[in-house]
Symmetry: C2
């Protein structure tokens, strides 16, 4: 009775038991709606054929792979790793495995990975695009065929999303710098078409506006979230004729670049320049002096994203999209001081 070539399938089992594939499947999945004599015929066929269901075959029947795709810029950015860790733990508990791919922030990679996770029949996807979502991109996401949850993004609007209140925390940071007497406050962040950059700049402007002060547009740099961008922008600003007296580093991976630029120029924090980072880190906490930061809970972001996704995977498809905004606080440390008298 053993097939000599190829894997024994549920069809073989059904044939041997003289039942339909659906009935064999109900027995294998232990449904109660099968008559005892049918059940024993199927179990006996399973035994004779040495049929072994496996995860891939089961997933084809269930149309579920228990895989969740996660597209992040780079896993080796500590804040993203903390996000992934928390999402992993939540999904793992529910029996899902996480397929993690780095997009390097490039649109072509993001598109390729969305296609790949589609081919893998992922049950869902966690995504924080680094390219603004235009109609073509939105269509690609719409065609993905499984639930999507965005992290630290708010587009497309029809997807569930979890983000942090960067506007609030950077508003507070900017206000504090203004109170200390700073006027030349630079903010370095990513593409202003992306949520976290837009929000940080919004908070920054709001603080200036509340203080009745004008923003010097040359001090607003929305060119990229990378450490290398932080280094480049901080270096050029610090070398300018009228350098800033305070720097807000508006990206989770940017602080090392900004600190290197300050060190290279031989400047001292906070005597020569005050510094605020985005996202807490061991570097910010254990630096001398410790660096003030806008802080939000990356683990909570990951957990929330996973829970939103599991809810959709679990079948809740028709309720309106949920956009969760997690609080972000401003943590003041010794990296702030009044500007040097010039």
């Amino acid at each position: 009775m053993r097939k000599t070539v190829g894997r024994i399938t549920i069809k073989d089992v059904a044939e041997a038991a003289g039942v339909s594939v659906g009935t064999a499947s109900r027995v294998i999945n232990n449904k109660a709606t099968v008559r005892p004599e049918i059940r024993s015929a199927v179990l006996s066929a399973i035994d004779r054929l040495d049929y072994q269901p496996n995860a891939v075959a089961q997933s084809m029947r269930r149309r579920s792979t228990q895989l969740v795709g996660c597209i992040i810029r780079e896993i080796n950015i500590p804040a993203l790793a903390a996000f992934v860790r928390a999402a992993h733990d939540e999904l793992d508990q529910a029996g899902y495995s996480l397929v993690i791919s780095n997009s390097e922030g490039r649109r072509a990679r993001e598109e390729e990975l969305i296609h790949r996770f589609g081919r893998l029949q992922s049950d869902g996807m966690l995504l924080g695009p680094y390219t603004p979502v235009d109609p073509a991109y939105e269509k690609l996401l719409r065609g993905f065929g499984a639930p999507i949850v965005l992290f630290d993004r708010n587009e497309p609007e029809w997807a569930d999303a979890v983000a942090a209140d960067h506007a609030g925390s950077i508003d507070r940071a900017t206000s504090r710098l203004l109170d200390l007497g700073h006027r030349r406050i630079a903010i370095l962040t990513g593409n202003p078409l992306l949520f976290p950059a837009a929000e940080r700049i919004r908070g920054y402007r709001r603080a200036f506006q509340r203080a009745g002060l004008a923003v010097d547009e040359s001090l607003v740099r929305g060119t990229g979230f990378l450490a290398a961008e932080g280094f480049r922008n901080a270096s050029s600003l610090l070398a300018s004729a009228a350098p800033p007296t305070a720097l807000i580093s508006g990206g989770i991976d940017m602080l090392p670049g900004v600190l290197r630029a300050i060190r290279v120029r031989g400047l001292s924090i906070p005597d020569d320049i005050s510094v605020v980072g985005s996202g807490d880190s061991e570097l910010a906490e254990l630096h001398t002096p410790p660096i003030s930061v806008e802080r939000w809970d990356m683990a909570e972001t990951g957990r929330t994203a996973a829970l939103l996704l599991l809810r959709r995977i679990g079948g809740e498809r028709d309720t309106p999209p949920e956009h969760v905004l997690l609080p972000a606080e401003f943590v003041e440390r010794a990296s702030l001081a009044p500007p040097r008298q010039s």
Copy 2:
């Protein structure tokens, strides 16, 4: 001709074309060994039935899922994230996706994940066990059914492995501390039954032996790689009647804990205590003062592990296991000074 229930399978295509499943498969996979008239019969059947192969179905035929499992302690340890990043890039280029799961260093989790990656029919696995490999564990790995590559481990011996020369780098670090006049040098690391801990302690002992000096066993702590263990061990040693004058932090995630312990006690580096870390990091580099480290290339480790795995997945199964030892250097920074005269 369209089936109304269930997915159209390659069997349906073969039946409709009047050929065997193997022949249909050869056409779909574009093999050259199919006669033109057969090819056109199969293509016509595919067209009539609207047959759409998908990744899961293809993987069942090919017996390949294009998935590689990776079990690490915690993705949010920067050095492990760098390893994963590099392995990801190499595997991605070859068309493989990486399923990453955190073991938290617990054996039960490791076992569960090995089973899970087996059920997912992963094409291979990257693994750095945190429990010493005993016969039961070795049997579990042997039954995995796909190639395994170990990172920073050397057991089981039959698996390919890539590790760093911790003995060499810690030998050099210890020698340098001895040359500076230190005698009470503590080494904090993980379970000495695991490769990186065993090797670090071996290098440490070798340096003492070469100098003709005895090791004070109370200064050798092999209790765990965690930052919390670093904090606990460093705190208790620094509070002892005869505290060490130098500390070697022998784990990639341990330095933050050791630095916190030193800070909590109000000690100054290097005046009160010299410090050596394991694995370079932004924290070590940008700390004041910068921390000396044993350094090896985590990205190279990841790339090498991925390449070893791809070679086995590609069919090279019968050549002897390859154990690659990557160099590790000792990078001296301002965290070292002669011991304070007591």
